[in-house]
């Protein structure tokens, strides 16, 4: 994780200066709440003090109060658009709150000016990673790929390659990580590779080992959930997905699979909660609204289901199951002609696929 930086230390006269100095001392001592109080007092006296506001944002972020931090950072960037430490911190705050779509333009702007900024590169790659855009992960990290000792780079590229089905190229990065000794990242990558090959038992064992070594490793619990699901351990999978969203509230896979599992268990409201969250994390993933439509259908909310499925098939016109489910919603709403039309569309699509 990229640490939140303290931007600068300025000495000022009078009370504001004293408050700022006290704030810095608290900040350095890890007493973030006290630091926040002092920065805020300081800013009441000098609202335009750039460094105090930047540091306040950093302290808030360190307390996990990311929304408040972004409110402090944004006006600063209007004053100093080229202040890259603040832009990086703003991007991090967005990233931490799962708003990767907001984090990405900040990072891209930063990288346009500083193409060699390694932290920003990694963070941007991780945003693509979270959106499931594996090709862009690989492209973003291309320049850093040669760096043999960088575990994070190897992990992200290796994972993206394996997810793209390029197992042989992914293996190169697994081996590179293995050279650094047994690490959580290496185990996770091996587990992912085995998961892709449907070797669920071995995948689960490696992912568990990764989580033992680093319980907060990104995506670890949701991968474990998928491995357990493949091994028919639905209860274990459900717990893993719950852990995934607890450890990382922005874990898309965790929310998505938990939503699907809960739907299958007929816990519709819980399913909807997680699927809505997944939809907010990856608005482009059409499988999420499809699942939301299925929840609505199962709950007998047929018109809501219809509306969702109509959007699904307009976004993904070749999605056979989407047309079938829309047809079901229409039939339930006694719109037989519409149902027949989508049933026929689904049939033709299936025939074409065959």
């Amino acid at each position: 994780m990229i640490p939140y930086g303290i931007v600068a230390i300025w000495l000022l006269a009078a009370d504001a200066g004293v408050l700022f100095r006290q704030a810095l001392e608290h900040h350095r001592a890890g007493q973030f709440e006290a630091a926040v109080e002092r920065y805020q007092e300081c800013l009441r006296q000098r609202p335009d003090w750039f460094e105090a506001r930047a540091n306040l944002g950093a302290a808030l972020a360190q307390l996990g109060r990311y929304e408040e931090a972004t409110r402090e950072y944004r006006p600063l960037l209007e004053q100093q658009p080229d202040n890259f430490p603040v832009r990086l911190n703003l991007a991090l705050a967005y990233y931490k709150t799962g708003q990767v779509n907001l984090a990405m333009p900040e990072l891209q702007r930063l990288l346009a000016a500083q193409p060699d900024h390694e932290q920003a590169t990694l963070l941007l790659a991780d945003c693509f990673f979270r959106l499931g855009q594996n090709g862009k992960v690989i492209q973003t990290l291309e320049r850093l790929a040669a760096s043999e000792g960088n575990l994070a780079v190897a992990y992200l590229i290796g994972t993206a390659l394996i997810r793209e089905g390029e197992a042989a190229r992914g293996q190169v990065y697994i081996e590179r990580i293995m050279k650094l000794g047994e690490t959580a990242e290496a185990n996770l990558l091996i587990g992912l590779s085995q998961l892709q090959r449907r070797d669920y038992g071995n995948a689960a064992a490696h992912i568990l080992r990764a989580l033992e070594m680093n319980p907060k490793i990104s995506g670890g619990y949701s991968l474990l959930g998928q491995a357990l699901l493949g091994s028919d351990d639905r209860a274990g999978a459900r717990k893993s997905f719950e852990d995934a969203v607890r450890v990382s509230p922005t874990d898309f896979e965790g929310h998505f699979y938990l939503g699907v599992l809960l739907r299958e268990e007929r816990e519709m409201e819980g399913a909807l909660r997680h699927l809505d969250r997944a939809a907010s994390l990856r608005p482009a993933a059409v499988k999420v609204p499809f699942q939301i439509g299925l929840v609505q259908l199962a709950a007998g909310r047929n018109d809501e289901a219809r509306q969702v499925f109509e959007k699904v098939v307009s976004r993904a016109p070749d999605f056979v199951e989407g047309h079938r489910s829309l047809a079901t919603a229409y039939y339930r709403l006694k719109r037989k002609a519409d149902g027949d039309r989508h049933q026929e569309l689904a049939r033709k699509l299936e025939e074409a696929k065959r």
Binding site: S231, L294, A298, E321, R324, A327
Partner: protein, 541 residues
């Protein structure tokens, strides 16, 4: 899967009768090849029917045989075992002339010529066989003469009178196209051996509907209707009456494509109308719009709400389906609510039937299982090739796992009271294994048995509805055709009475063309009766 079961063991509900005692020593041969031809994995079926009209159910078992992809080293044959009435059976295959030929699949028994002797259709990868019962212990094979031509790969079949003329018509399921150009190796398992291909790879086929011309011949009439235009991969079929209009409809389980529900809309302007409504009725796919691997089927008013429900068995990781009929030609899959979805999630189901094993009056459910791939355990450790036969008991509207029998590679299942003690027994046909003959040992409750004989309606009375009251409880049963998988059940109805000592009253609503209702009162329990349409009940000796 956690099994909280009573095993079928000592003092169990069902007892398996070994071949040494029963005399049923025949064994199915799948002819497994290194190329793993798909037909090897799906056969075969069995029938319980009384071929010699002596009042005792006989056994018919279907075997593989010579075909384009299989040349057996030694001759294979189907088997007909005559019931000696003492718990033993004698092989009468050669005398009866029903040894089959070709790569057999299933059997469907029915009196298609209304002469009082039950005939037998055998489906196959190859030509159909129609064994006409000569009434003297022998059969004549008349498929070609009768116009029953069905190329390709036929599976389950059902005799029923769709046009209400009093003669049994025939629906024959066809599975996928499997000709030499379709023979593929679909990959190898971790042991380096070929997998059986998933049927998704193969081209679907249309099933066939044959109208009985009342002269020993048939005419294919599905073409030009919804039946002829529905390309599926049909493995199971059962008659039902979706909307209680008295016309028999068809529910067809398809493998890897949608199921079909063909509703019989009757005749108009000289043409019979069928409408396929599986998707609007919500029996076509899983809840998330996925086609499952439908194999076995049954239809029964399981919850006694006056509407017939449907059951489908699927392959592992899909779970089986129990479709509750909600009326207005729509269904809801309640397998999850009944605990069946999870209980069957790792199983691959084939033969099945709703039946009242303990004669308490409620319909229970038996499921015969087994994964089609004999090497499945090498790549799916949680899935087994041999799987247990499961019995679910209907306890006040909830299906609860009551017992299991030893794991087998089961396919067909026929239910029938072969020892005439009023308790329905089981015959399970297993792939590449001997069959299992099980006798019902459930104790206690009273019953009556009915052998219906149509006069105006088809002689087997397929489609008749029996409503009865015992101990003040009213129940209804329909005599449906087909069901299970590749198999044919006892056509007699055994009605459970619970502790009631007699039937208070009983009504039989005969199928068209008469649609007459016969009513009887105060019928003593614990015996079989013969009931001819429009006549009095006659106790059977």
């Amino acid at each position: 899967m956690k099994l909280l079961l009573l095993a079928f063991a000592a003092a169990a509900l069902f007892e398996e009768i070994p071949a040494a005692r029963s005399g049923v020593s025949w064994k199915h041969t799948a002819g497994r090849s290194p190329a793993r031809h798909l037909p090897e994995s799906v056969g075969s079926g069995a029938a319980l029917f009384d071929y010699d009209n002596d009042g005792w159910l006989d056994i018919y078992l279907v075997n593989s045989g010579r075909t384009d992809f299989y040349k057996p080293e030694f001759p294979l044959r189907n088997a007909l075992y005559r019931n000696n009435g003492d718990g033993t059976f004698t092989d009468r295959t050669e005398q009866a002339g029903v040894a089959g030929g070709g790569y057999g699949m299933g059997a469907a028994a029915g009196d298609f010529d209304n002469d009082g002797d039950t005939d037998l259709l055998v489906t196959a990868h190859g030509p159909l066989l129609l064994y006409r019962n000569n009434g003297d212990g022998t059969f004549s094979e008349v498929a070609a003469k009768a116009g029953l031509r069905a190329g390709g790969w036929t599976t389950s079949a059902v005799w029923f009178d769709y046009d209400a003329d009093g003669w049994l018509d025939l629906f024959v399921c066809r599975f996928v196209r499997y000709e030499p150009r379709d023979w593929n190796i679909c990959g190898k398992n971790p042991g380096g051996l070929a997998f059986y291909c998933v049927p998704r790879r193969f081209e679907p086929a249309t099933s066939l509907l044959f109208r009985n011309n009342q002269d020993g011949t048939f005419t294919e009439t599905g073409s030009g209707t919804a039946i002829g235009s529905a390309r599926g991969k049909a493995l199971g079929v059962v008659t039902t009456d979706v909307n209680n209009d008295g016309r028999l409809d068809l529910f067809v389980a398809n493998d890897t494509v949608q199921n079909f529900l063909f509703v019989n809309r009757g005749a108009a302007k000289g043409k019979h109308l069928w409408e396929e409504i599986a998707l609007p009725a919500e029996v076509a796919y899983s809840a998330d719009g996925q086609a499952r691997s439908g194999m076995g089927v049954d239809a029964a008013d399981w919850d006694q709400d006056g509407r017939e429900d449907l059951f489908v068995s699927n392959v592992d990781h899909e779970g089986f389906s129990l479709y509750r009929n909600l009326g207005e030609e729509s269904y809801s899959d309640i397998a999850h609510d009944q605990g069946l979805l999870m209980a069957t999630r790792l199983l691959s189901g084939w033969g099945l039937k709703f039946f009242d094993f303990n004669n308490d009056g409620s319909l229970d459910l038996v499921l015969a299982n087994g994964h089609p791939d004999d090497m499945i355990e090498r790549h799916k450790p949680n899935v087994k090739h041999r799987e247990p036969l499961l019995l679910f008991e209907n306890q006040s509207g909830s299906l609860r796992l009551a017992a299991e029998h030893r794991p087998m590679s089961s396919r067909g299942l026929a239910v029938g009271d072969w020892n005439n003690d009023g308790r329905p027994d089981l015959l399970v046909s297993n792939n590449d294994e001997p069959p299992a003959l099980l006798v019902n040992r459930a104790a206690g409750n009273n019953w009556i048995g009915l052998k219906l004989q149509g006069v105006q309606c088809n002689r087997d009375a397929i489609g008749a509805v029996v409503t009865y009251s015992a101990g003040g409880v009213r129940r209804t049963r329909r005599l449906n055709g087909g069901g299970s998988y590749l198999s044919s059940h006892d056509l007699r109805l055994v009605l459970g009475l619970g502790t009631a000592g007699e039937v208070d009253w009983l009504e039989v609503r005969w199928p068209a063309p008469s649609k007459r209702t016969d009513r009887f009162t105060t019928i003593p329990a614990r015996r079989y009766y013969h009931l001819k349409e429009g006549s009095e009940l006659e106790p059977k000796t």
